[in-house]
């Protein structure tokens, strides 16, 4: 186990290097550069050249790459080209909101997905089975910007239950410690702000949760179906075990493997990929920030942001793999 962990950890820097190099390269291939984008109409060529020189954009790409790598190794992510703000500061601002969003969304999607998946298999009623399946596919197919704006119209504009957007109410006062508001607001006992924070988190996390609950429900359903018909469940049944304990103990244990894998992947996907949800709900997270970074061709923002997303992703996968080994001893084999 330990040696396996070590082996995986050795890969960590290699994966990060590959991701950051690909990002670096991709950004240089995309037409347009940050200075052209920001200072579009009036800057003349000599000014442009001057600013490009400051950011090193006029040097050969190999030199830029070497420079980028050597800074990266020293942990220097530089300044955002468009705003002049240090990237590490921006990560502090943008990463915690997205991690919070990802965790709550996953809790929602796991809850809804597993329950409805199990229900569709165990309650032997075609109507329930099909409505769960229909709902889960609906979740998959509806565009996020569509679901998001529908939820806003229903719950914020018509019913006025939740705020339309943002991370916390306009002008609400609070202290920032870690920028994980869940922790900060509890630690400072700021319950009024905490309430506002929770109310703001509902719609965006439900939006993501609903759409990915579809995946979970389908996986649960098919994993359950497979397991329910396997020999050992039949044996368990034959032994006279109660149906409920069969389902939860044996079937779920096996259905958990693909669900954990999926949710691990989802976590990574939400970290950098909640682009649309963050945009519709004006949620100040990584996805919206990276999207702006790409559209403005802010090389340092995209490079710096992607490395953190990749890091979180790789660590999450490591965790998933460890869980795998804990749950299913069969997988402890040398081919890993």
């Amino acid at each position: 186990m330990i040696s396996y962990l070590l082996k995986r950890l050795i890969w960590l820097p290699i994966v990060l290097w590959a991701v950051s190099s690909l990002t670096f390269l991709a950004l240089r291939i995309v037409p347009g550069n940050p200075i052209q984008t920001v200072q579009n109409q009036v800057m003349d060529k000599s000014q442009l050249a001057q600013v490009e020189a400051v950011w090193g954009l006029n040097r050969p790409i190999t030199e830029q790459y070497a420079n980028f790598l050597s800074k990266l190794v020293r942990g220097d992510l530089g300044l955002a080209m468009s705003s002049g703000v240090p990237i590490r500061r921006m990560i502090f601002e943008r990463m915690p909101p997205t991690i919070e969003l990802a965790i709550v969304s996953l809790v929602i999607s796991t809850g809804i997905g597993v329950l409805s998946g199990v229900a569709s298999v165990t309650i032997r009623n075609r109507a329930i089975d099909y409505s769960v399946r229909t709902a889960s596919i609906l979740g998959l197919s509806l565009p996020l910007f569509w679901v998001g704006i529908m939820l806003i119209i229903l719950f914020s504009v018509k019913l006025r239950w939740t705020p339309t957007s943002g991370r916390i109410g306009a002008g609400v006062d609070y202290d920032v410690i870690t920028n994980f508001m869940f922790y900060d607001l509890i630690a400072t006992g700021n319950w009024q702000a905490f309430g506002s924070y929770l109310r703001h988190l509902v719609l965006p996390s439900v939006t993501i949760g609903l759409t990915s609950a579809g995946f979970v429900a389908r996986l649960t359903r098919s994993a359950m179906l497979e397991v329910m018909n396997s020999d050992y469940i039949r044996t368990a049944r034959a032994k006279g075990l109660y149906e409920r304990s069969v389902i939860w103990k044996h079937a779920m244990r096996n259905a958990m493997l693909p669900i954990i894998t999926l949710q691990g992947l989802q976590f990574g996907a939400i970290l950098g990929g909640a682009v649309i949800t963050e945009r519709v709900f004006s949620y100040p997270g990584m996805g919206a920030w990276l999207l702006d970074g790409i559209l403005e061709r802010d090389y340092s923002v995209v490079q710096g942001g992607i490395i953190f997303v990749a890091l979180a992703y790789v660590l999450m996968n490591l965790l998933v793999d460890i869980l795998y080994h804990v749950i299913d001893p069969r997988l402890r084999n040398p081919s890993f």
């Binding site: 009036v42 003349d44 705003s83 914020s156 705020p163 306009a170 002008g171 100040p284 559209l295």
Partner: protein, 522 residues
Amino acid sequence: MFRRRTFSATLIVILLLFSLGTATAEDPQYGGTLVFGAESMGDSFDIGFWHGFGGVHVIDTIGEGLVRADFENGGALPGLAESWEISDDGLVYTFHIREGMTFHDGEPVTAAAIVRSMKRPINPDDPSYIEGMYMYGNQGTGNWESLEAVDDHTVVLTLMQPNATQLLVFSRPDGIIISPKALDEYGTEVGLNMSAAGPYKIERFVPGQEAVLAANEDYWAGRPYIDQIVIRAFPDEAAILAALEAGEIDMTLYAPFTSVPRLQNSDTIRVEVGAPLVNLFAGANVAMAPLDNVLIRRAINYALDRDVLIEAGLNGFAERPASLIGPLDLGFDESGREISVYDPERARELIAESGMETPIPLEVAYENNRFWPQLAELIAADLEAVGFDVTLDRLDTGSFWGKVGDGQTQLSINQRSTFVPDPHGKAILMARAGAEGSQTQHQALEVADEIDSLITAGISTAVEAERAAVYKEFQALMLDHLPYIYIGYLTPPIFVNARVQNVETFGTAGGRINLREVWLSE
């Protein structure tokens, strides 16, 4: 001899009351929180960088430069400088700084503090200096011979060449004065901890999300009416509309125009119409066929049915165009309205005259946001009707400017809103220096040098009548050669909650919101 302009406080109040057309019979009230919905919120307010319009709105609300801009009548109003003199040769500016002012952090606003802040972009020894600050390019620092504080309340700027726009650029967002204490304390991260001398101060800033601003009790022109202003980002147009209807925001410029007819019938929302400060146009790349042929450019001009573009593309929120200079600008030439007109017959004749084989292939580039796609499709329809074969080139912002900067676009649709009420801000699009990176690539225009010398002439004299004559000549030349083809002057809807009173519709229309006289009823 010096021209002296001194304004008393009462005169300013009277002027403001006149300029703010919507003043009601009610007396202004103090208090309340106004939430402004912006299209973005930057990650910093460092004025050396561009942080989107959300950032500009914050900087405009917290900051103040030596002067402020009078968007309605043109020209400068007193800011931190209560008066100024300009020498006859236009080279020496003497600013008299108002006494007794403080920055938000309590530091006194002195001549030395002002000079320190203004020199930040050209002083690499300043602890807050960041290599690559590009926005200061607008301040004209390259033309400064010297900038000095001669005593506590007098700043003297000496220029190398006269520059008629020098005074007004100090009213730009990048012209605001920052507290020296903040520059020392926060260094290169001063943009996250701004301390300026405007009517509001930053209470809290969440990058990418919102800035919470509180009334500055010590503002020189008196405490503003509203206690707290929250400028918050809503990148999605439907979401901003939802927030407006849910009563979460009180004011915005960024809701879809298509919603205006419905909102106008609402009890809780009011729509005001902004002044025509933003110019919409199509830039023709004159270095590339077929737009290198002036007959083709003229044909395009006559092919565009402005009434339809304005009605169907902009929901009626624009005036018919004249030229590159706007109707509120110095030297505006009304006669352009006779040239920028729809005449498809004439367009077809011009194409026939050019001898080019129809349909003429033409690429139309535009940004993929706001009303641009809609406008582009309508323009394409007009052009196809007279004999062009249009390919639409919808680009994200980065690609659009990348392609423009590399001279790879043919016809590209865009806008120009200047941050100061001066024709130079629009004319400079045609300056020789920036030509290779511009939409028109006008280095290839046969009259490029003539136009460039007119632009130079436009700023090298301070006599208004002379400047007006220069800009008239400039417009005539531009309309003759048509490197730009005009679509209209945007008169943008300003969406406000019914409780918002005394909205300023001039600067606001150009993206420079001015909240110091706004108040909330009830």
